[in-house]
Structure formats: structure tokens, C-alpha cells
């Protein structure tokens, strides 16, 4: 567990909400419909605890999008929703109904693009805080339980996960999901340092 002050937490939440707003306006324009995105909560937890938290909160399988990130921080960024929520998001955004209970190839591709937009804007706001470059790979569609999803590549228990609750507002629905960034400890200390620098500069 990483202790951060209320002020630090507020600052990160604020910055992430601004970037989510940008992502939402891109999505709104693409689908010509009101889309809202917000981050009501930010937390830092260990990778394995994050996986447990994930599974406790969501009985069903999760699905979503992952991108690897390289540069100032090194790890994976994920956007996850309970599987049936992913289905509603894609189908509402594409404005279609299909009596099939899993995403088709093209719908998965569309979900990848939605995830790409959201994750890129989160990653770029983190890069802004760090004042360093972070590169991210192309999005990939994933599906599984929390433990499966978090067992990705960098399987080091010391890794910390930046855990963001995300609220996806579509039509009259409000869908809750998560964005997580798996960060190594060095990246995180750098992140906190830069965060303090900026807060002090205000």
C-alpha cells in the first residue's frame, strides 16, 4: 500500500478528470452522442491486492482493453468492465442491437479503439505530471478474472497498481469500470516526487 496525502490524491484525481473529459469529448464527437467520463476515485495498491479487489467487486468475468506502456514508466495500462457492461458500452456506442452474448470481432475492435482513446489520455496526463515521455503500444482486447488479468507480463508482487474507478455515462446509463496502471516501484517514486514538485509550485 502506498500512502499519499489527501492533497496529492485530489491533485491526481483532478488531472485525470481533465484528461477523461478530453477522451469523452473525442468519443462524443465520434458517435454523435453525449458521452461522459469521470474518475471518482484513485487508489494505489499492490498488484495482487488489486486482483483480489477486482474479483471481490465483480463476480462475473471482466473484459476490456490493455496497452503496454514504455518509457518513463514501464508496465501495462488496462481498462476493464464487467463483461456484460463492455457489451452494453460497445452496442450503445455503435447504436446496434445483436442477440449474441459475446462481442463479435468487429465489436472487439471497436472496444479496442474506445479503450485506446481513454488509456492514451490517462497515460498522457501521467506523462504530463512526470514531464517525461511515455510510449504506449496498440490496444489489445482481453477477458478474464481479476487474477488472470493482473497476472500480465510483469508478475512482480512488489509492483503497485494505480487503481482508478471510472464512470462511463452513456444515454441514461451510468456504467462503472476501472482503469489500472501497473507501475514498478521506481516509476512510482518518481511519480510522487514530480507530483509534489507540481503541488508546491501552485
Amino acid at each position: 500500500m502506498l500512502d499519499i496525502t489527501e492533497l496529492q490524491r485530489d491533485y491526481i484525481t483532478e488531472i485525470l478528470n481533465i484528461s477523461m473529459g478530453r477522451a469523452a469529448s473525442v468519443l462524443s464527437e465520434m458517435v454523435s452522442e453525449e458521452v461522459s467520463l469521470s474518475v471518482p476515485e484513485v487508489d494505489f495498491v499492490q498488484r495482487n491486492i488489486a486482483a483480489e479487489k477486482f474479483d471481490q467487486a465483480n463476480v462475473s468475468t471482466m473484459s476490456g482493453v490493455t496497452q503496454s506502456i514504455r518509457g518513463a514508466i514501464y508496465g501495462d495500462a488496462l481498462l476493464m468492465f464487467p463483461e456484460e457492461k463492455t457489451l452494453s458500452i460497445v452496442r450503445i456506442l455503435l447504436g446496434e442491437t445483436l442477440p449474441v452474448e459475446s462481442l463479435t470481432e468487429m465489436e472487439q475492435e471497436a472496444m479496442c479503439e474506445i479503450g485506446n482513446i481513454i488509456l492514451n489520455s490517462v497515460v498522457s496526463s501521467i506523462a504530463d505530471i512526470l514531464k517525461k515521455e511515455i510510449m504506449s503500444s496498440l490496444p489489445r482486447f482481453i477477458k478474464g478474472t481479476g487474477c488472470e488479468v493482473f497476472a500480465v507480463e510483469t508478475s512482480n508482487d512488489d509492483d503497485l497498481v494505480m487503481f482508478l474507478k471510472v464512470n462511463f455515462g452513456l444515454e441514461s446509463q451510468s456504467i462503472n469500470g476501472y482503469v489500472t496502471l501497473i507501475l514498478n516501484v521506481d516509476s512510482l517514486q518518481d511519480f510522487i516526487f514530480q507530483l509534489n514538485e507540481q503541488i508546491n509550485a501552485i
Partner: protein, 400 residues
């Protein structure tokens, strides 16, 4: 260790083996994807053969020109924005076919005089080389995927409609069955009443021949009523409308009542029901009427399939919170090929028109459904030529 000279030679070899820029271009021209490269000034510096074919624009007409000049219609669109972020922030992006319809004006070579647009999925990736930033745009033709999914859409819709229609038909069928059954039962009941009165002689002494005919009419009326009641029960079970009032039931009392009620039936086959002696006070958790229905079914079956003049033994035993009731006949046993279908609807080992014993073939199917609803089980042990034992396992009533 390589000497300095060896190293130099090795480097020279590597250099000569490395493909030239021209070879790379040739390879890119063979690609089944559209590829073009944009530099930091937004100028297009590479345009592969796939792009030439699909856009009908030659490299000489695009190389060195800025993106917005080549694609004026795409200025301010998402594709231009992601090219900018790839160059400025080194971010990779995906533009899916579903959320971006036909991004670039690309077409198949004239097919029968028609211009057909290529369905596209586009990825944009940052590239760094020698301290310079570039952006690679790769276009994949997803037309086959789009066509596949439109077929899938039609099929999925048809399947859903088919399912809805089938549900409607099944509901109509069950409504029809229950209406018809009710309409049949009412007149049959009054026929049975009238025949009973005539047979009893209240309406006057009957000639033996008339009495025989009235007897046949009565028996067949009874058979029809049984059939209709069974069909109605089956219908109720399938519709989940059979209600159960579960509670403590004195098993032996109910068994004795069932035996008494079936005695006349047993007599027709010259069969005696023998209940095991010395048992009492076994309280099970059941619905009285329904458990009696199951007992009656097993008792009448046992009589029906017994050898004339034999006994039917009824035994009760208790273990692990369950009570087992066994009804044992000394008949022909159940043929092996029929054993797996015995609890199916309308099943009788002898399905021919000339079969010797009556019945609807619904009794055991109903009994099993009833036992399952009461958390019990029904089963049988049989030996051809020796007889069959049907058993019921019923939960003891738990006072807690």
C-alpha cells in the same frame, strides 16, 4: 576474440548483406496492407503499391506533399488528430471500422464497372529513426470481415425470431391441450355418472347383454378420464403450475389408504398387496395428495405387470434422514432396451396397438416429476422373468 581486422571484415560483410533501401521498398510494395509514412512536417515520404492500387494515386503525386494537401477532406478529422499525436506525443492509435466508416477514399479496382469502397481498419504508430520522428499509417482491408458479420447479424436475428416463434407455438400447444382436456373432462364426468346409475340398476333391471355393454362403456370412460387427468397433470408440471403443499405426512397411513384404494384394481388382476408388518410412525416431508398419486401409480403398475395370482410386496426402510418405499412385483421384468426410456412421456414397453395392458404411458413420467418437486427420487431394479422393484426415496420430516 576477433581481431580488429576481423571485426572490420565482419562489419563490411554485414553491410553488404543488409538489404538496400530499394529492397525495403520492394518488400513494402508486396504488403497486403496499405502503408504510408508521414514525417514531422506532415509530409508523406512513403506510399506503397497497395496504396497506389486502392487510391489510384501514384507515389510521384503524393511524395513530398503534406497530408492535408493530399487528403483535404480529412482535415480536422480524427485520423489527422491521431497522426499529430503520434508525431508530437509518440502515441499509437487504432481507428476501428465500426467507429470510423471508410476513413480514406480507397476503392477496389473496378468490379463490373462499379466502384466499391474498401472497408478499413487503420493503425497509426510513431516511428523514430536517427533522431527524427515519423508516423506510420497502416490500413487493413476488413471488407471480408464486414461481410461476414453482416451475414452473422442476419442469422442471429433469424435465430432469435425463430426462437420467439417456437416459444409462441409451444405456448399455444399447451393452451390448446388444456382447453381440449377440460372440454373433454366435463361431458365425460356426466357420462360416467349416468353409466354408473344405469349399471347400479336404479333405472330398472338390466338384461345381461345390456349390462355387459354398459360395463364396457364404463371401463372405457374410466380409461379416458385417467388419460385426460394425466395429460392435464403433465401440462401443469411443464408449465410449472403444479402446486405443492409440503408438510409432515404419516407415511404408513397414506400407504395404507393408497393400498385400500387400489385393492379393487389389484383384484382385477388377482393380485394381493402385502404391506410389511410392524412399521408405524414414520413422518415424511411431502404433499399428501401428490405422494398418494405416486403410490397409486406404482401400485397399479405393479398389479398390471404382475403374474396373475402373485403378490405385490410393499416394504419401508429408513436411513440417513431418508425413507425408502419399495413396491415389488413378480412379473416379467422390464426389457433391457426399454429401461432407459421408462420415465419418458408416453412410453410403454409394448407400443403396439395390440398391447395387453392399458395406460397412458404418462404415469411414471408424472411420478418422477412429482418426486423431484418434493426433493425425492424414484428408481427401479428389475430382472427379466423375475420382476421389478420400484423404489421412492422421500425426505423425513425435520421438526427443526
Amino acid at each position: 576474440m576477433l581481431s580488429e581486422v576481423d571485426k572490420m571484415n565482419h562489419e563490411m560483410e554485414v553491410e553488404s548483406a543488409a538489404p538496400s533501401g530499394r529492397l525495403f521498398e520492394k518488400v513494402l510494395d508486396l504488403s497486403e496492407n496499405g502503408l504510408f509514412l508521414v514525417d514531422a512536417d506532415r509530409k508523406i515520404i512513403l506510399w506503397n503499391e497497395w496504396m497506389v492500387q486502392a487510391s489510384s494515386v501514384e507515389p510521384v503525386d503524393v511524395i513530398g506533399k503534406v497530408f492535408s494537401q493530399v487528403f483535404p477532406d480529412l482535415v480536422g478529422k480524427r485520423i489527422e488528430l491521431v497522426i499529430n499525436t503520434a508525431l508530437d506525443m509518440r502515441t499509437a492509435s487504432l481507428l476501428s471500422r465500426s467507429l470510423n466508416k471508410s476513413i480514406f477514399p480507397l476503392y477496389y479496382a473496378n468490379v463490373g464497372g462499379k466502384k466499391m469502397r474498401i472497408e478499413q481498419s487503420v493503425i497509426v504508430k510513431p516511428v523514430q529513426s536517427d533522431g527524427h520522428d515519423y508516423c506510420m499509417v497502416q490500413i487493413t482491408d476488413v471488407t471480408p470481415m464486414v461481410q461476414r458479420e453482416s451475414v452473422l447479424r442476419v442469422l442471429a436475428k433469424e435465430a432469435a425470431e425463430g426462437q420467439k416463434a417456437a416459444e409462441g407455438v409451444s405456448q399455444m400447444k399447451s393452451q390448446f391441450t388444456s382447453t381440449v382436456s377440460h372440454e373433454l373432462r366435463t361431458p365425460l364426468t356426466s357420462i360416467r355418472g349416468s353409466l354408473g346409475l344405469i349399471a347400479s340398476g336404479v333405472m330398472g333391471e338390466l338384461q345381461p347383454e345390456v349390462s355387459r355393454l354398459i360395463g364396457i362403456a364404463s371401463n372405457n370412460t374410466e380409461r379416458l378420464l385417467f388419460l385426460i387427468n394425466d395429460i392435464l397433470d403433465m401440462e401443469k408440471i411443464e408449465a410449472g403450475k403444479m402446486n405443492f403443499v409440503m408438510g409432515p405426512v404419516d407415511l404408513i397411513v397414506v400407504l395404507k389408504q393408497s393400498i385400500e384404494a387400489n385393492q379393487p384394481y389389484g383384484e382385477q388382476y388377482h393380485v394381493r398387496y402385502l404391506l410389511q408388518d410392524g412399521i408405524s410412525g414414520i413422518i415424511v416431508n411431502a404433499d399428501t395428495d401428490r405422494i398418494m398419486q405416486v403410490f397409486s401409480n406404482l401400485l397399479s403398475n405393479a398389479a398390471k405387470f404382475s403374474l396373475e395370482g402373485s403378490d405385490v410386496d410393499i416394504n419401508v426402510s429408513e436411513s440417513n434422514g431418508m425413507v425408502r418405499v419399495e413396491v415389488k412385483d413378480y412379473g416379467a421384468g422390464i426389457p433391457l432396451q426399454f429401461q432407459s426410456r421408462i420415465f419418458d412421456k408416453f412410453s410403454q414397453a409394448d407400443g403396439s396397438n395390440t398391447r395387453k395392458v392399458g395406460g397412458t404411458g404418462l404415469g411414471l413420467s408424472i411420478s418422477r416429476a412429482i418426486m423431484e418437486m418434493m426433493d425425492g427420487t424414484i428408481g427401479f431394479v428389475t430382472e427379466e422373468g423375475k420382476g421389478t422393484t420400484f423404489y421412492l426415496d422421500i425426505c423425513l420430516f425435520n421438526k427443526g
